[in-house]
């Protein structure tokens, strides 16, 4: 009979065992009777010589080897019965655990999906990103350097170790089919999809002869764009669309969730077809370049080859490629922005889970101690110590697994809303899903927590002094008080860490909300604006179009002022330019840099940036007048010290002509409230300079590109969002194919810059509140239990004359002693947490003693409340009843 058979056919085996042993006894007795014994005496003797039937049966059962399973089933049944008897305790324990495990699972899923999971491309470990490397390029300021289009083409053609592809991020106006619309566009090399190793949803990729000047005008649609505009219909293949006045034929649909570089394109067009000047020269480098290692090639070989090719290009094109080389790096998702936040939340959630465990552990321990008598009885009846420990662990494991299952349900339902609530866009959000690894983690977590909080009661399973325990009826003996105190102290310490962190975040948010951004964000509407593609080819027409548009918008009721601006503060996009005060120009990497903003005259009025000296632009500043420029107070300080800069000349990378400084304005927190824009000058961090130049004086060659990037900003006397529709209709009235997109109020943008802090505060606040609640409940439970154990002692004290006040104080003192240890440990932990927070969160205030004190006060107050109920109960003990106990 196999092991499994023996396990499943237990009842039959038991029956056979009975019959077999009975046969033996009967036969022996019969033999004895045959030899002349008295029947009753014979049976008695047979039984005596046979030995204890139950012990023998037990030994036979042990021989089956299925014992532990049966014991486990028995323990399981016993635990379930126990929880049924005490449903309140079980429910509280399971729910707390479910919350703790659920929250931890959500964070683990996010950490796993966003930070740890490999990229969703075929064999992502063999993919690399290719960058330019030259001393003049400031990586810290601009990030990794992309490639110029000619360099990209040369590398693509000549590399033997890499299959190289690339794309240029672009945007344009789609005027057909349907309403005109602004779309994001990837001008992509033909091998884009094959290098990433992802199959298209529909149709085909670009062919090589389409990826060159004069190639057939074909386009591939982005998956989301296709679903939204063509209802996911396969008949889109062959459809035609008009993008920036050129007509394209759709030949394919990109794979779902294909977001190289973190952006999903609406439309792909062949890169080779585009012949704009910035694609023909080796100066600008707009091509994002990614490659796959050829079979058998290593990253090391690829790096060597790239540097050889780089040297060859340097020799060939010394003007542009003098010091330029190329590097390859294993392709990694861009998650730098969320990494600290995710780990912070994961850490916080782990603290909550630990508190939960400590809470359940102290409750279980209290229960185990009050069951001391039961356990002692079982040991007296022959239960082994290990067996009792196993039972305790089974009971806690049942709780933990129930909590774990519920927790996974919480996580599964909670994760989507949580990701949706993430401020801004969580990178790789659509890759977030519960998978078997995370589920395994959750299960392991619940089992581990079960072991953790089941261990203490298990270790307490009595071994010695059985008689005392049985008679004593479970009075607290020896170490249990210290163990309980340790649990309370742990909970308090963890709660302090979370409370202080939440307090710091609250403090920070409050401070940041009151930061003056340097402009007045109330009642300002901003929106990117795409002019009709038909006017963009002629700079004079474009200028006229802008002037007309602003004039029309100014006439909309409710509009106080309207201006155009290329880079709106606190929104994505900036244009850092080098400047110098006297020719010749210093080398680029030694130039001081300033954020340059191209505006129309009313910009100052719209943003209400204070004018400190001189004047701002007016309608007389145009192409025929002297170039003018306005700098901010920071730049004035850096470049001119204390002198008045108005009237001085300034050269910038915008052009060869110097510009006359005509005014100084206030500094704007360009990157929002959390942090001012910092730059490193000679190794020293300092606030970055800003200057403004008028769109009316922009050289013709920039007008087209600048117009594609322009936004309008409108100051309203009313709710600015009410102006969206009127402004849109003004735009349409001029030309039907002009669109407004990325509409924001400045207030939204300003709030958005501290959204991560707000989000962290919300979560830390919730965690801290939970921690406080759990710690208070745990504290109360332990105190109530310990006080009950001391009833006879307190009875004696009262009988000997202790006043009720003295008894109350005694109990509270006991509580405060536990709390004090916890608080001291917690403050140490909080200091460490504060250091992590300060380094991980932008604009984080240093730890304030006031915050710490406030939080400790809250905690101690809650501990006093928790201790007061048991203390009052102790004070009301009737000495007579207590002594009889």
């Amino acid at each position: 009979m196999t092991w499994l058979n023996r396990l499943l056919r237990r009842r039959k085996l038991e029956d056979q065992l009975d019959r077999e042993l009975q046969f033996h006894l009967d036969q022996y007795a019969a033999d004895l009777i045959e030899r002349g014994a008295d029947p009753a005496a014979a049976r008695r003797r047979a039984q005596i010589e046979f030995g204890g039937a139950e012990q023998i049966k037990e030994a036979c059962r042990d021989a089956r080897g299925t014992r532990w399973v049966e014991d486990f089933a028995q323990d399981l049944r016993y635990s379930l019965r126990a929880w049924r008897q005490n449903p309140g305790f079980a429910t509280v324990a399971v729910l707390t655990l479910a919350l703790g495990i659920g929250a931890t699972t959500v964070m683990a899923t996010l950490v796993h999906s966003v930070l740890l999971n490999p990229l969703p491309f075929r064999d992502p470990r063999r993919m690399v990103s290719v960058h330019g490397a030259e001393p003049a390029w400031n990586v810290a300021l601009f990030g990794d350097e992309n490639l110029s289009n000619p360099d990209f083409r040369d590398l693509q053609r000549q590399s033997r170790s890499l299959n190289i592809t690339g794309w240029v991020f672009d945007n344009g106006t789609l005027s057909e089919p349907g309403d005109p619309e602004y779309v994001t566009e990837f001008d992509a090399s033909a091998n884009l999809f094959s290098v990433f190793g992802v199959p298209l949803t529909l149709g085909r990729s670009f062919q090589r002869d389409e990826d060159r000047p004069g190639g057939a005008p074909v386009a591939i649609l982005g998956y989301t764009f296709w679903r939204k505009h063509f209802g996911g219909s396969p008949s889109v293949l062959g459809a035609s669309l008009v993008l920036d006045t050129a007509r394209y034929t759709v030949v394919g649909v990109a794979p779902a969730q294909f977001e190289p570089g973190g952006v999903e394109a609406d439309v792909y067009t062949p890169l080779g077809r585009h012949t704009g000047p910035y694609l023909m020269r080796r100066g600008p480098h707009p091509v994002t370049t990614v490659a796959r290692l050829m079979p058998g090639a290593t990253l090391e070989q690829a790096k060597n080859e790239l540097s050889i090719l780089g040297r060859r290009l340097s020799a060939q094109y010394p003007d542009t490629n003098q010091d330029r080389s190329f590097i390859a790096r294993t392709l990694a998702p861009d998650v730098t922005g969320v990494r600290p936040t995710l780990w912070l939340l994961f850490g916080a959630v782990t603290l909550v889970l630990l508190i939960t465990c400590a809470d359940v552990a102290s409750l279980l321990l209290a229960r185990a101690v009050s069951r001391g008598r039961e356990f002692a009885m079982r040991v007296a009846l022959g239960a082994a110590r290990g067996r009792l420990a196993r039972q305790c662990l089974t009971e806690s494991a049942v709780l933990a697994v129930a909590g774990g299952i519920l927790g996974v349900i919480v996580a599964a339902t909670g994760i989507k809303p949580f990701v949706a609530a993430w401020p801004g866009a969580l990178p790789r959000a659509d890759e977030v899903s519960l998978d078997w690894r995370v589920l395994g983690f959750a299960l392991l977590l619940s089992l581990a927590s079960g072991l953790l909080f089941g261990l203490a009661p298990a270790l307490r399973a009595p071994s010695a002094q059985l008689e005392q325990t049985i008679r004593g009826g479970g009075r607290a003996i020896g170490g249990s008080r210290r163990l309980h105190g340790a649990f309370v102290a742990c909970e308090m310490a963890l709660a302090v860490v979370l409370l202080v962190s939440a307090g710091m975040l609250g403090d920070t948010l409050l401070r940041l909300s009151n930061v003056n951004p340097g402009l007045d964000p109330a009642n300002v509407l901003t929106a990117r604006t795409a002019l009709s593609p038909t006017v963009l080819d002629s700079p004079p027409k474009t200028r006229a179009m802008w002037d007309g548009l602003l004039a029309r918008i100014r006439r909309v009721p409710g509009v106080q002022a309207a201006a155009m601006v290329d880079t709106v503060p606190m929104r994505n996009g900036n244009n850092p330019l080098g400047y110098w005060l006297s020719p010749p120009a210093p080398p680029e990497n030694r130039m001081p840099m300033a954020l340059a903003t191209c505006v129309s005259p009313d910009y100052l009025k719209v943003m209400r940036i204070p004018l400190l000296h001189g004047r701002f632009f007016d309608d007389h500043d145009n192409l025929s007048s002297e170039p003018v420029i306005v700098i901010d107070e920071v730049m004035s300080g850096h470049a001119f010290g204390g002198e008045n800069p108005v009237g001085r000349q300034l050269w910038s990378q915008m052009g060869d002509q110097p510009a006359r400084i005509i005014g100084v304005v206030g500094h704007v927190r360009y990157y929002g409230l959390a942090n001012d824009d910092q730059t490193r000058v000679r190794g020293q961090a300092q606030v970055r300079d800003q200057f403004y130049y008028p769109f009316a004086q922009l050289p013709d060659r920039f007008v087209r590109r600048w117009s594609q990037l322009m936004s309008i900003a409108v100051r309203a006397g009313i709710n600015p969002l009410a102006l969206v529709e009127p402004v849109k209709s003004e735009l349409r009235a001029v030309s039907r194919d002009q669109v407004l997109y990325e509409v924001n109020t400045m207030q939204q943008l300003a709030r958005g810059t501290i959204e991560p802090q707000r989000f962290l505060l919300l979560l830390f606040g919730v965690f801290a509140a939970l921690a406080l609640l759990l710690a208070t409940v745990g504290n109360y439970g332990v105190l109530a239990y310990l006080t009950r154990q001391r009833v006879p002692e307190i009875g004696v004290r009262i009988a000997l004359g202790a006043t009720s006040g003295a008894v109350t104080r005694m109990v509270l003192r006991q509580s405060l002693a536990m709390v004090a240890i916890g608080v001291i440990a917690g403050v140490a932990g909080a200091l460490a947490a504060a250091r992590i927070l300060t380094s991980a969160v932008d604009g984080m205030a240093a730890i304030e003693p006031v915050t710490v004190l406030l939080m400790i006060t809250v905690l101690v107050a809650s501990a006093l409340v928790a201790g007061f109920i048991p203390a009052r109960r102790a004070a009301r003990i009737d000495p007579i009843t207590a002594l009889r106990q």
Binding site: M1, R6, Q16, L17, R19, E20, L21, F23, H24, D26, Q27, Y28, E49, F50, G51, G52, A53, Q55, I56, A59, C60, D62, A63, R64, G65
Partner: protein, 126 residues
């Protein structure tokens, strides 16, 4: 009654297998036989036979069937499996080797003492 001693570890299994080797036999008969062959020198509480029987059955050294006894009652008869026979032979051989070795050691120490006393070892020590 002569003083009774406990069985050395593993001996009970060997004895059971030996008894079962003679043909299918039920637990009570094994107990009787053990008592006879050990001439009451080895005392086994009768009941403790059964865990050993079950253990041997679960290890596949014995097989058991329910059969009628001569008196017409149903009893569980144990017989040696092929694996059990092989095990018995191996164990018997190793016991023999062991007991010979023990006997040798005992003889040697007896001789050693005699010679220390300067006497000739008497003949026929066995």
């Amino acid at each position: 009654m002569p003083p009774k001693s406990d069985l050395p570890q593993g001996t009970l299994d060997l004895l059971i297998l030996k008894v079962a080797a003679l043909g299918p036999v039920h637990g009570y008969a094994i107990a009787q036989r053990l008592q006879q062959v050990s001439r009451d020198v080895v005392q086994v509480p009768q009941g403790s036979l059964y865990p050993a029987l079950h253990r041997l059955e679960n290890r596949g050294l014995l097989a058991a069937d329910w059969k009628q006894t001569e008196t017409g009652r149903e009893a569980r008869f144990y017989r040696l499996t092929r694996k059990g026979r092989a095990h018995l032979e191996a164990e018997t051989a190793s016991w023999q080797r062991l007991s010979e070795a023990v006997a040798l050691i005992l003889r040697m120490s007896a001789g050693g003492r005699e010679s220390r006393l300067g006497l000739e070892a008497p003949n026929g020590v066995e």
